[in-house]
Symmetry: C2
């Protein structure tokens, strides 16, 4: 009902009397008044003027599920949204929901995380109302070894959405760091629940620094606000991100990993660079010449030998 | 305390007076009487004769955690046992426990399952007190694509334990069916929770038909009792299985997958046979010539071309 009230107020864009609204929606004046109070408590600025009625002045900077759904127009991503003011970690909940059979496209969304997780157990700093913190449940019909393409797909989707909404042009450091001017704006963590020959489900976790202030960021990190010099509409950005994720996921199903890899290559900050890759207590140095369709990075060492690396941390060396 | 009472009764092997027992264990006669009643309720046949005392006549056919632990002598497998009279599925619980940080070697054990799961969502029939139904949590430092070796390792361990305890000689149909005389006695399901470059944990599920009666088995299945012609001690077999699993797991860490694959080959019913492998709505036919160190089956087709299959269902053709 609250969504309907907002929808109706939004349409009018002018004062609407209590009688008009309650008549239109078939509820009592008393019930309407109660809903309006709840909305105001949630941060909706609704003014009430005697003899004129109600008017919606502004919406709060919140990612409420019904706001995300409004005008989203996706086929399956975000059809079910689990929204929280805070969570320990969207990944923990998403993995739980996945095990309980949550449908593909289910979204876990939170305004802050107390224990946001990154790759290999690292922490993702998730201050309240500043970023976008989500986990998306997917049920792709792929083998476990094909799962890295989903991380690449997510990085591509973030770049596309950020560019569309802000005009900024992020790039990707292999495998899954999204950077602007060599500073990190987003991290991606893909976890799966799988048998040897079947992925049961994956949860893709995305942490995106949107309106973080410079002083709250570590030196290797940045936010879209810092880069764009202006506050960014998190809701618009989130919706665009969900659309891009869906489009790219459908593209993957349609055209295969190749189509995603092509997009990834064009956004890559790593390919063509001299890099060091640290993995499993070892490291390898050389030119990053390409990535495979399974997301593996190909490094040409000084000896000319080409070595494959399926995971690790990349350092881009100065040339 | 119940374990201590059993231990003490077991040592004596003759009548022990209530005073002796309660004195030895530092409990009251009243408390002892209560514990003895509980043990009798659990199926322990303890006779009480006036002026003589208590004697343990027999233990019940149950896999109580403290019975499994007694004399197990493993380093880490089974140090923590979660035992249930029935469960929907040991895998579901093990995956939950894994997410909550259960240590490597934690064991979920049940006397029956209402929804025992096999590979690809198939059902594992788990009648009460007839089989061994367990899930083992491991935290191997491997990449997700290396996980199939754990399934092979489990199949090898089952064969070794069954041979040691019953004298029967099971063989393995690729990848993970354990057969005697071409009928299935055990199934293995390995599920993992993983990132692209790190396995967080795996749960290895094992269902083993031990004392199932012929009439309760489908035609492609058999039980150790049916094959051996005698009731099998489930407890001894389970303990041996846990020891073999641990030994082989330590061997894997020590010598690598090669050592496991060698054992697997010697137990294989598939290698050298003409087979059909059904996988992902396709099938391939040819000679099963070898398996790789990552568990991949190599099929030589009539054309001479060798094709790799990483998962599927094998049908052994008559030659």
């Amino acid at each position: 009902m609250k969504e309907k009230i907002l929808e109706y107020l939004n349409k009018g864009h002018d004062y609407l009397s209590g009688d008009q609204i309650s008549g239109h929606l078939g509820i009592s004046r008393q019930a309407l008044w109660k809903h309006i109070q709840d909305l105001k408590d949630s941060g909706y600025d609704i003014v009430a003027v005697p003899h004129l009625g109600y008017r919606l002045e502004s919406r709060p900077d919140r990612l409420f599920a019904f706001e995300v759904s409004r005008g989203l127009n996706t086929r399956f991503i975000g059809k079910k949204i689990h929204y929280f003011d805070y969570l320990s970690s969207t990944m923990d909940l998403a993995m739980q929901l996945g095990m309980r059979g949550a449908p593909a496209g289910s979204l876990v969304l939170t305004e802050s995380q107390t224990k946001g997780r990154g790759r290999l157990g690292r922490i993702w700093f998730s201050p309240k109302y500043k970023g976008i913190y989500l986990s998306l449940i997917l049920r792709p019909e792929i083998l476990p070894q094909a799962s890295p393409v989903l991380t690449l797909l997510s990085a591509v989707s973030i770049c596309e959405a950020v560019k569309k909404v802000t005009g900024l042009e992020p790039q990707i450091k292999w495998p899954n760091d999204v950077l602007i001017h060599n500073k990190k704006i987003a991290g991606i963590l893909t976890e799966m629940n799988a048998e040897a020959d079947k992925v049961n489900f994956v949860a893709i976790g995305i942490g995106l620094n949107v309106n973080n202030d410079k002083k709250s960021l570590i030196s290797q990190a940045t936010s879209l606000k810092e880069q764009a010099g202006t506050q960014i509409d998190r809701l618009l950005l989130l919706q665009e991100l969900l659309r891009r994720l869906e489009n790219n996921y459908l593209l993957l199903g349609d055209k295969g990993a190749k189509a995603i890899i092509e997009k990834w290559r064009s956004l890559s900050l790593t390919l063509g660079r001299h890099v060091k890759v640290y993995y499993q207590h070892k490291h390898i140095e050389g030119a990053a010449v390409n990535i495979d369709e399974d997301g593996t990075l190909l490094i040409r060492k000084d000896s000319g030998i080409i070595q494959k690396v399926s995971s690790g941390d990349v350092v881009h060396c100065r040339q």
